[in-house]
Amino acid sequence: MERVVGSATAQPQPVRVAPGTGTYSWLLQRVTAYGLIVFLTVHMIFNHYLDLRTGSKLTFELVNRRFYAYPVIYAVNDIGLLTCALFHGLNGVRNVIYDLVTNPVARRVLTVLVILVGLYFLYDGSLTLLALAQMQNSAGS
């Protein structure tokens, strides 16, 4: 009986997994993890650390001013953060449920559901960002 899994002395062996058997969601979970480290760090610095220094209360005006001050950083970072966070989070939920549910039909339904929820929030979140950018223009004129 070979029980080396999880053993402290076991040497990890390279494994090759056939593409299409969860490899893409696995890979994208890693890619978005790297993305989140970058985007979330920028988000924390620009949305929170700078606030600590000014001590301002969070209002539309403040968000507005931020968009003005660093338009490129906010455009790139917010879209990147929205996309990565949604994929990473929803795929994470899918991973958890996959560990509990093995029925293939239920899994397929779950995957479709997760994709739909993700697309909805991506669309809606983009509208929110767009609304903030448009209000910024009207407020600044």
Binding site: A33, L40, L52, L58, T59, F60, G92
Partner: protein, 131 residues
């Protein structure tokens, strides 16, 4: 492959790390969706957006924000530990316990630092003074 079916987790640091990663991850998804739902008030009007933000700026929600910082920190630092495993570093896997305690310790250290910063540098938690 069948040999893994009969295996049971026997606890330990690795399992604790896994469990905390799961729980923090689920909490963060809940936060993310709540966050996006809250901010969508911007699509309505400027006033609605301010109102939506004001709801979460009470001292209670500041404490919840701090808890969020702790959860994000753990998930990020343990996540980096996992990325090290997946990058093919056998050394990282060999020292997975030590790396967990490193991630856990850094979580607590940075969390305490953040808590001090929030309570000493953020006026809005006590009085709303605009900078």
């Amino acid at each position: 492959m069948n040999r893994t079916i009969g295996d049971r987790y026997r606890g330990g640091v690795g399992m604790l790390a896994w469990l905390l990663h799961r729980l923090s991850g689920l909490a963060l998804v809940g936060y993310l969706l709540l966050h996006l739902y809250d901010l969508r008030a911007a699509q309505q009007s400027k006033a609605a957006f301010d109102q939506a933000l004001a709801f979460f700026q009470t001292p209670f929600w500041k404490i919840m924000d701090l808890l969020l910082v702790a959860v994000v920190l753990y998930h990020t630092l343990n996540g980096i530990r996992l990325l090290l495993f997946d990058s093919g570093s056998t050394r990282a896997i060999r020292y997975q316990r030590q790396l967990f305690w490193l991630a856990f310790g850094l979580t607590i250290a940075i969390f305490l630092f953040s808590a001090v910063m929030v309570f000493t540098h953020l006026p809005s938690i006590t009085t709303a003074t605009s900078g």
